[in-house]
C-alpha cells in the first residue's frame, strides 16, 4: 500500500510540471503557438503560425501528444502510435483529409503539424443547435463521408479502415464541407489480467469488439453517427448496438422513411447485411435524395391547417365563462369550478345540470369531497362546504387572500394553501380553523399529505414539509422561482416542478435534492407517476416522460403552445391538455400521439378519468366528456 501511494505522488509531481504550452512559445524555431484549440485525453491541439512564411499568416494546427507513461515500454508504445498516425496521414491525399506538414519530437512530447481547419466538429454543431438538424444537410454530409471512406478503403498498398467515425471526428469547414480528423485511434490497451478493454464508443460496430476491422465496420459507425445527428440521442449514453430500440422516425418524424431505411441497413448487426462498400451506401443516399427531393425542398408542410377531431365527444356543457380548473368526479357526478364564479354539479353520464353554487370569485382549483360534502375554494378568499346532493351551504371558511390551491381532505380536516401566505387546516365538519402556518409567500400548490406529513410548494420558491402538529420538518430553498406545481411522493421520493424551468426530485425524509431535470421554460404542471416514469407538462409546450430513478428524459411530445395543466394516466394512455386548445392522448410508453381533440379555447386544467371517460374544462366555457 505504501508503495502505491509513493508511486502516485511521483506521477502527480510530473503531471503538474508538464502542463500545456503557453501562447507565444515557438517550437522548432518555426511554429509560434497562438492558442489552445482543443484538448483530449492524451493530446492537445494548438493553433499556431508557421514562421517560415513571414510575409503572410499561415495558420497550422499543432497536435501535441503528452506522454505521461512512466513505464518505459508503455512510453515507447505511445510514441509508436503517434508516429503511425503521422506516417499514415503523410501517404493520404483527399480533400476531406487534413494535410500533414511536419512531425517532430521535443523532450517528452511529440508533435504533428497539420493543415488548420477553421470550423466546428459535428458534436459541437449538434450541441449548438436547438432542434433536429435538417435532413438535407445530414444527407449532404453523409454523401461526402461515403466519398472519403471509399477513398480510404481503396487506398494502396493497403486499405485504411478509419475505425473511429463519430461526430467529434468530423469537422465542418467554412465551406460547409466535411473533413475527417484524428487518425490516431489505434489506441492499444495493455491486455491486463482481467481482460482487454476496448473502445467505449457506442459508434463502434459489434465485430470491432472482437478485434475485427473492415470497411463494413466504418459503414456501421457512419450509420451510428447519422442516427445521432438525426435523433440527437447520444449512442454513448445508450447500451451498445441498441439503435433498433430507437427508430429514427419515432424520435424525429421529419426524417424520410427512405433515409431511415438506408441508415438501418448500415446499422445491421451482421456485417454481411450492411452496405458492402461506402460507394454502395453513397449510391443509396444519392438515390433517395433525388426520389424524396430533399435536396430541392428541405421542409414538408406537416402541420398545416386546423387539426380535425379524431374522436367524438360524449357530451359537453356550456358555462358562462372560462373553465380553467380541473373537474372532480365522485359517484357519477362531475363537480367543476368556473370563472363565472360558480361550481357546477353535472351528471357524469349525460352532462345534465344537477345544481350550481355561486361564490364571489373565479374558481381556479379542483374541488374535493368526502362523499357527503363537496369543498370548493375560490378567488373570493373563501372555502365553501356544500352538500354533495343539493349544493346547499354547510359552512364557509375565510382565508386572508384568494385561494388558488385545491383543498385536500385528510383525517377529518381540509388542507389548503392561500395567497395570504398561509397553509390553512380546517375542521371538515364545522369549518373552524385547526391551525394555520405562515410561510414566505402565497401557496398555490396543492398540499400533499402522506403519513402525518404535509408537503407543499410556495410562490416564494421554497418547498416545505410540516408534520400534523404544524412543526416544520424541513424546508427546501434551492429552487430559484416559485413552486406552483403539486408534489407527488413515490417510494420515499418527492417530485415537483418549479417556475425556474426545472423538475425536482427530493428525498422526502430530509429534503435532499437527488436530481433536477431542466426543461425549456417554467412549469406549473403537476407531475404524475407510472411504471418508473414521471410525466409532466411545461410552458415550453412539451409533455415530458422522465426516468424517476435517474432524472433522464425518455421522450417528449411537442404541442403547439404552453402546457400548464397536468397529465393524467389511464391504463397505458396519457391525457394532457395544451394552451393550443387540444386534448392529447399519447401512448404512455413511447409518447406517440393516439388522438387529439380540438376545443375552442386554451386548456389549462387537468383531465379526470372515470368509468372509461375523460372529463375536462376548456377556456371556450365548456366542460367536455370524451371516451378514453
Amino acid at each position: 500500500m505504501k508503495r502505491i501511494t509513493k508511486a502516485l505522488g511521483d506521477i502527480t509531481t510530473e503531471t503538474s510540471q508538464l502542463g500545456q504550452l503557453e501562447p507565444g512559445v515557438t517550437l522548432q524555431d518555426r511554429y509560434l503557438v497562438l492558442a489552445l484549440h482543443g484538448a483530449g485525453g492524451m493530446s492537445s491541439v494548438y493553433r499556431a503560425r508557421d514562421l517560415h512564411f513571414p510575409n503572410v499568416t499561415k495558420t497550422v494546427a499543432v497536435k501535441e501528444m503528452i506522454n505521461m507513461a512512466t513505464d518505459p515500454s508503455m512510453h515507447e508504445m505511445i510514441i509508436r502510435n503517434f508516429e503511425r498516425e503521422a506516417d499514415l496521414l503523410a501517404t493520404l491525399s483527399h480533400p476531406a483529409i487534413p494535410r500533414i506538414y511536419d512531425y517532430f519530437t521535443h523532450e517528452s512530447s511529440s508533435y504533428l503539424v497539420m493543415e488548420f481547419i477553421d470550423g466546428k466538429d459535428l458534436e459541437a454543431v449538434l450541441q449548438e443547435s436547438d432542434d433536429f438538424l435538417p435532413e438535407d444537410q445530414v444527407v449532404k454530409w453523409a454523401i461526402e463521408l461515403c466519398d472519403v471512406l471509399d477513398y480510404l478503403h481503396h487506398h494502396k498498398p493497403q486499405p485504411v479502415i478509419f475505425r473511429d467515425v463519430k461526430p467529434s471526428n468530423i469537422m465542418v469547414d467554412g465551406y460547409d464541407s466535411i473533413r475527417l480528423i484524428d487518425f490516431g485511434i489505434a489506441r492499444i490497451f495493455q491486455p491486463g489480467q482481467k481482460g482487454t478493454m476496448i473502445g467505449t464508443d457506442g459508434y463502434a460496430p459489434p465485430e470491432q469488439y472482437r478485434g475485427e476491422a473492415s470497411p463494413p465496420g466504418d459503414m456501421y459507425a457512419l450509420g451510428a453517427t447519422l442516427h445521432h445527428l438525426l435523433t440527437r440521442r447520444d449512442p454513448r449514453a445508450e447500451p451498445p448496438f441498441s439503435f433498433s430500440e430507437r427508430p429514427i422516425r419515432d424520435i424525429n418524424e421529419n426524417v424520410s422513411p427512405e433515409l431511415e431505411a438506408t441508415i438501418n441497413a448500415a446499422l445491421s448487426y451482421d456485417p454481411a447485411d450492411r452496405f458492402p462498400t461506402a460507394e454502395a451506401m453513397r449510391t443509396s443516399l444519392m438515390a433517395l435524395a433525388q426520389e424524396t427531393g430533399i435536396l430541392v425542398s428541405p421542409r414538408t408542410a406537416a402541420s398545416a391547417g386546423q387539426p380535425r377531431n379524431e374522436i367524438q365527444e360524449v357530451w359537453s356543457f356550456e358555462c358562462e365563462d372560462e373553465v380553467r380548473g380541473s373537474p372532480l368526479v365522485v359517484d357519477g357526478v362531475v363537480y367543476v369550478g368556473c370563472y363565472d364564479n360558480n361550481i357546477y354539479a353535472l351528471d357524469a353520464k349525460t352532462g345534465d345540470f344537477i345544481w350550481k353554487f355561486a361564490t364571489e370569485g373565479g374558481i381556479a382549483s379542483t374541488p374535493a369531497s368526502d362523499g357527503e360534502l363537496v369543498f370548493v375554494a375560490s378567488e373570493d378568499a373563501r372555502m365553501y362546504a356544500l352538500s354533495a346532493d343539493k349544493g346547499t351551504l354547510a359552512w364557509t371558511y375565510y382565508a386572508g387572500g384568494p385561494i388558488r390551491s385545491s383543498p385536500v381532505v385528510s383525517e377529518g380536516h381540509i388542507f389548503v394553501g392561500a395567497d395570504d401566505a398561509r397553509l390553512h387546516v380546517v375542521n371538515m365538519f364545522n369549518g373552524s380553523a385547526a391551525w394555520k402556518q405562515e410561510v414566505a409567500g402565497p401557496i398555490r400548490s396543492t398540499p400533499l399529505i402522506v403519513d402525518d406529513r404535509v408537503y407543499f410548494g410556495c410562490e416564494s420558491s421554497d418547498f416545505y414539509c410540516y408534520d400534523f402538529r404544524g412543526e416544520l420538518k424541513w424546508r427546501f430553498g434551492k429552487a430559484r422561482r416559485g413552486i406552483t406545481s403539486t408534489p407527488i411522493l413515490i417510494e420515499g421520493m418527492l417530485y415537483f416542478g418549479s417556475m425556474d424551468w426545472s423538475l425536482y426530485a427530493l428525498e422526502a425524509e430530509a429534503g435532499w435534492q437527488i436530481w433536477k431535470f431542466r426543461m425549456g421554460r417554467p412549469t406549473i404542471s403537476s407531475p404524475v407517476f407510472s411504471e418508473g416514469r414521471i410525466y409532466t407538462g411545461c410552458a415550453d409546450g412539451r409533455i415530458y416522460a422522465i426516468d424517476s430513478k435517474g432524472g433522464r428524459e425518455i421522450w417528449h411530445f411537442q404541442t403547439e403552445h404552453q402546457v400548464t395543466g397536468s397529465p393524467t394516466i389511464f391504463e397505458d394512455s396519457l391525457f394532457c391538455g395544451s394552451v393550443d386548445g387540444s386534448m392529447y392522448c399519447l401512448d404512455m410508453r413511447s409518447g406517440r400521439k393516439r388522438w387529439q381533440f380540438q376545443t375552442g379555447g386554451p386548456l389549462t386544467g387537468t383531465p379526470t378519468v372515470s368509468d372509461n371517460r375523460i372529463y375536462f374544462g376548456s377556456n371556450d366555457h365548456r366542460v367536455y366528456a370524451l371516451l378514453t
Partner: protein, 295 residues
Amino acid sequence: MTFLQRLFGKAPTDLEQSDPNGIETAPLDPKTIDWAALSNHTLVGTSQSTGVERAHNEDALFSLLGSSSGENSVPNFGLFVVADGMGGHRSGEVASALSVRSVAHRLSADPLLQLFDLNGSADSLPVQDLVRRALQDANKSVVSKVPGGGTTLTVVLVLGNQMTIGHVGDSRAYVLTQHETKVVTRDHSLVNRLVELGQLTEAEAAVHPQRNVLYKAVGQGANLEVDVETFPVPKNGFLLICSDGLWGVVPDKEIERIAWGADHPQAACDELIRAANAAGGPDNITAVLVYFPPT
C-alpha cells in the same frame, strides 16, 4: 459461537475490573440483549481476498457509515465503494485505489460536511450530479495518471432513506429483501450486452471466454458516461456491492443464503469470501454488505 457470544462472551470478566474513570458499570447479561433491538441500526461488513489464482490484489473498497439518532438528528449517511482494477504493469491496482480515493474525497467533502451544517443553506448540486461528477473526476485522474490502467467503479451514497448509485463496469450492487434478490446495476460487459440482445443465453454468458471484456470502464477516455440511479434503501434488507470475483463465482442463491443466515453482515462477508475461494477463487474478491433496519 454466535456473533453475540463473540462480542459479549468475555464481557463480564473484563467489566468486573474497575473502570479507569472510576465510573461504575454493570455487566450486561448476553441473554438479555435481543437481536431485534440491536438491528435497529444500520450495520455494515466488508471483506476482501486476493483469491486463489491471482498473485496481486487489484480490487479496492471503501466503507463509511454515519449513524445518528435523537430528535431532529442528522439523517443516516453512508458511502460505500468497490473498484476492480485492470491493466498490465500493476496499473490496475493503482487505478482502483486512485479511483476510490478520488470518489471518497469528493463525496465526503460535499454532502457529508453539509449534513452537519445547522443552517443547511449551502448551495449544493443535486445528489446525482455530485455522484456523477465524483466518478468523472476519478476517471480524469486515471486517464491522466495511469495510462493503460482502468477500473470498474460502483459507488453507493446513502442519504436518509435513499441511496444513490453511480456505476461503471461489471462490479455489481444487489438489493436483498425478504421477497427477492435483484441486481440494481447493469454490467457494462460485452457478454452481458449480447445477452440483452438475445445473442447469448445466461448460461452461455457465464462460461463465455470473453466475459471479462468491458465496453465501459473508468480510465478509458476523457468522456465517461456514468449510470446514476436512486433507490429507496431496502428496509429490513441488504445492500451488497461486490466485484465479479464474487458474483461470477458464487451463485445468487448462495449469496442470498449466506447474507440472511449470518448473525452480522461482517460474518456474512467473511463467509461470502470463503465461498468464492472454496469455488476456486479465480479472481480477486471484494464484498461490502450493509443491513438496513426495518424502521
